[in-house]
């Protein structure tokens, strides 16, 4: 009882701080860690600054766990809370000020702050940087898969295929134009131009995937559910083995040497764009048509909804972002093989979507981040990791069959609203 009251108090006071406050707090914590993190770690007999809040140490070296907890408390929890609560009045006023400005302005401010936090935080280690980038790519993949599997309710299994198409198309573009490559010969354009053309490469990757999605979208006019699932599965296998048979892109050995253009700002911008556009879409009436087609196609038809167009848009749109994510992925890991885009990857992506929650932007972000994190945390367990993750997912499915945060609209305006007013409204 007392615990519940305590929890309620914590929750209430946390809710009184607008997101801006938390972000500023996190930024301060990140800076703090950059300044004194190493010294503090030494003092606490830690070998280095814990890369992911010490979570990775949980199974690697459990004895260090208390020390990392202390580290987290001193570097993250206390400073964040102190700053957040300390500036509460200020940030709430800022939020109130921003409420009457265009939404994009407020959103942009928060995004810039978020990027700053990530930028500072990932300074600490290359591992952190890579994990952060891969998580952001996973967010894009999960969200785009959610468009098809959650919002439109088809069980599509072709996402690794779309991703492969994007990865290869983007890689071919950059490799042909900007690098001296084993497969494609000398660069056609000066490398200095490359980073500027990189968005174009990603766009081409996305469009290639979207075109590929037609192969799945067109059969979806006539058949739904299981058969479509198989068609999409077959598509995934076809993409994989088609690439294996195209020698110019390296066949089964894959393609490497992509320039390292998937930098943090690029990935972050791509992810922010992806979330923004997808969220825009699914909140519009055109986007909600996906839900109508999912919940009852006959009714959708009778209510003037062009169901074929809707299905096509969903598949191509989802595939586009998978393609972009594939392009980013290729330029991050800098070596892709067709074998990598297979069942294993599919299982991971499905896990993220269904764990996080169907039909929900926040759910996808939560799913992608938490499954990636759990996967990093459990890495020291070796293959036992693959016993724990499935078990978690099975439990989630049994107790929450549509995932943790399902069927939720993501309304930026409401989230960024000043807290005082929000709290008052709730009372």
């Amino acid at each position: 009882m007392r615990l519940a009251a305590l929890w309620g108090w914590v929750w209430r006071s946390a809710a009184a701080v607008p997101p801006l406050g938390w972000l500023i707090g996190a930024f301060c914590a990140a800076v703090l860690e950059l300044l004194i993190g190493y010294e503090l770690a030494i003092m606490l007999y830690l070998p280095k600054v814990p890369p992911l809040f010490g979570a990775t140490l949980l199974f690697q070296n459990p004895l260090l766990f208390p020390a990392t907890l202390l580290f987290d408390l001193l570097v993250y929890i206390l400073p964040v809370c102190a700053v957040a609560f300390g500036t509460q009045r200020l940030t709430d006023r800022a939020a109130a000020f921003l409420e009457h400005r265009p939404t994009w302005l407020a959103a942009l401010m928060h995004l810039v702050l978020m990027y700053a936090i990530l930028h500072v935080w990932t300074e600490a280690s290359a591992y952190r940087l890579q994990v952060s980038k891969l998580v952001m790519i996973a967010v894009m993949l999960t969200l785009s898969l959610n468009v098809i599997n959650g919002y439109m309710g088809e069980f599509s299994c072709s996402h690794p295929g779309f991703m492969a198409l994007g990865a290869y198309a983007a890689s071919v573009f950059t490799l042909v134009l900007f690098t001296q490559d084993r497969l494609f010969g000398p660069a056609l354009l000066p490398a200095a131009l490359g980073p500027f053309c990189y968005p174009l490469a990603l766009f081409i990757g996305g469009m290639t995937a979207a075109l590929g999605a037609l192969v799945v979208a067109i059969p979806s006019f006539r058949t739904r559910g299981d058969y479509l699932a198989i068609i999409s599965l077959a598509f995934m296998f076809i993409v994989k083995s088609a690439i294996e048979n195209i020698e110019p892109v390296g066949g089964p050995r894959g393609m490497g040497g992509q320039p390292n253009w998937s930098t943090l700002p690029v990935v972050f911008t791509a992810m922010a764009l992806c979330i923004w556009i997808i969220n825009n879409f699914v909140r519009s009436t055109l986007g909600k048509a996906l839900n109508a087609v999912r919940d009852n196609e006959t009714a959708a038809d009778a209510m003037t909804i062009n169901t074929r167009r809707t299905k096509m848009v969903a598949f191509m749109f989802g595939a586009f972002w998978a393609g972009v994510a594939g392009g980013l992925y290729a330029h991050e890991v800098r070596h892709v093989t067709p074998g990598g885009f297979g069942i294993q990857m599919l299982a991971e992506q499905l896990a993220m979507v269904y764990f996080g929650g169907l039909n929900s932007v926040v759910g996808s972000v939560v799913g992608a981040v938490s499954i990636s994190m759990v996967s990093e945390v459990l890495k020291p367990l070796g293959l036992y990791k693959w016993l724990v993750i499935p078990l978690i997912l099975i439990l989630v499915m049994i107790f929450r069959p549509t995932g943790l945060i399902a069927f939720r609209d993501f309304d930026i305006k409401r989230i960024l609203a000043p807290r005082k007013a929000a709290l008052k409204r709730r009372e």
Binding site: F155, D226, Y227, A234, K240, A347, I389, I398, P401
Partner: protein
């Protein structure tokens, strides 16, 4: 292309078709009863093979200890029967843990649990048996017959014969027994089945059990031909058989068997004409085309294709 060469490959195709068909039957049966795909089935096939390995090794050791030399065919028969029996419990357990709690949930969720249990079986196997690949004991010795220039091993004959007779047995079971009758009824309209005094919780596990037993038999036959076992062997064969089950028309036993053999033929004959790396590409393209133009497979019915969500 000579006639001998052709016949040679027909036999190979029949052998591969047998594996696919035996596994596809399990998918198809579960589908017809519960309207959901048992995505664990490929890994049940793998588990069945390993159980077969255990049984065969045990039997060999036992007969060795008792100083009896059992003939190869008897050993094989005993291995298959015992392994089928044991593996059926794996199927029942999977139904109980993974599918029954989710019977009213969205079907996609059940698919996810199925996939996850499959992963757990794979890595559970790795955790228990380690990463080195195990070899299935040579229960029967390979004898090669030359029939008019066509070389046939006794193993291939055994594989095809056992597969065909198991399919025949399944057919008889489904057509002639009251259990089979209940299964057919349930595939037609599972909601009314309880009104006949038949419990769904009886028929569903039984279906899983039979499917798993057939997968185990398929696994042992597979190990007979390709004795190097691998915890991930279920993925490749499982997914392909799954596709065959769909191709046959979901829930159609005959369709699943035929599509399994068709897949075997495609896979054996494509490399004759094209480079062998095109095998998967062409096999899956054919499947995609068939499903695009015949969305319900060979024998499938067009009812209720909506995903519940």
């Amino acid at each position: 292309m000579s006639l001998e060469f052709l016949l040679q490959n027909v036999i190979n195709a029949l052998q591969w078709g047998s594996f696919y068909a035996l596994i596809a039957l399990g998918y198809s049966m579960v589908y017809s009863i519960l309207m959901l795909f048992n995505f664990t089935h490929g890994d049940i096939f793998m588990t069945g093979t390993y159980i077969g390995l255990g049984v065969a090794t045990g039997l060999l050791a036992l007969s060795g200890a008792m100083g009896i030399v059992l003939p190869g065919w008897l050993l094989l028969a005993m291995t298959i029967v015992i392994a089928m029996f044991l593996t059926s419990f794996v199927g029942v357990a999977v139904e109980r843990v993974g599918y029954r709690p989710l019977r009213d949930a969205p079907r996609a969720s059940a698919a996810i649990t199925g996939l996850m249990i499959g992963i757990m079986l794979e890595y559970g196997n790795l955790a228990i048996l380690g990463t080195q690949r195990l070899l299935f004991p040579p229960i029967i010795e390979t004898v090669t017959y030359n029939i008019f220039g066509v070389f046939v091993t006794n193993k291939k004959i055994v594989i095809v014969a056992v597969a065909l007779s198991l399919m025949l047995a399944l057919h008889l079971f489904i057509q002639k027994t009251r259990w089979g009758m209940a299964m057919r009824a349930m595939s037609f309209d599972f909601q009314v089945v309880p009104l006949m005094g038949v419990s769904i919780n009886l028929i569903a596990p039984m279906t899983f059990a039979i499917g798993s037993a057939l997968a185990a038999a398929g696994g042992i036959l597979y190990a007979l031909a390709y004795p190097v076992l691998d915890p991930f062997m279920g993925i490749l064969l499982g997914w392909k058989s799954f596709v065959a089950a769909i191709l046959g028309g979901r829930g159609s036993i005959l369709g699943a068997a035929l599509a399994g053999f068709l897949l075997g033929f495609i896979e054996v004959f494509v490399p004759i004409v094209f480079p062998s790396t095109f095998r998967d590409l062409i096999a899956y393209s054919i499947i995609l085309l068939i499903l695009t133009f015949r969305p319900y497979g060979f024998f499938g019915q067009a009812h209720s294709t909506q995903l519940r969500l």
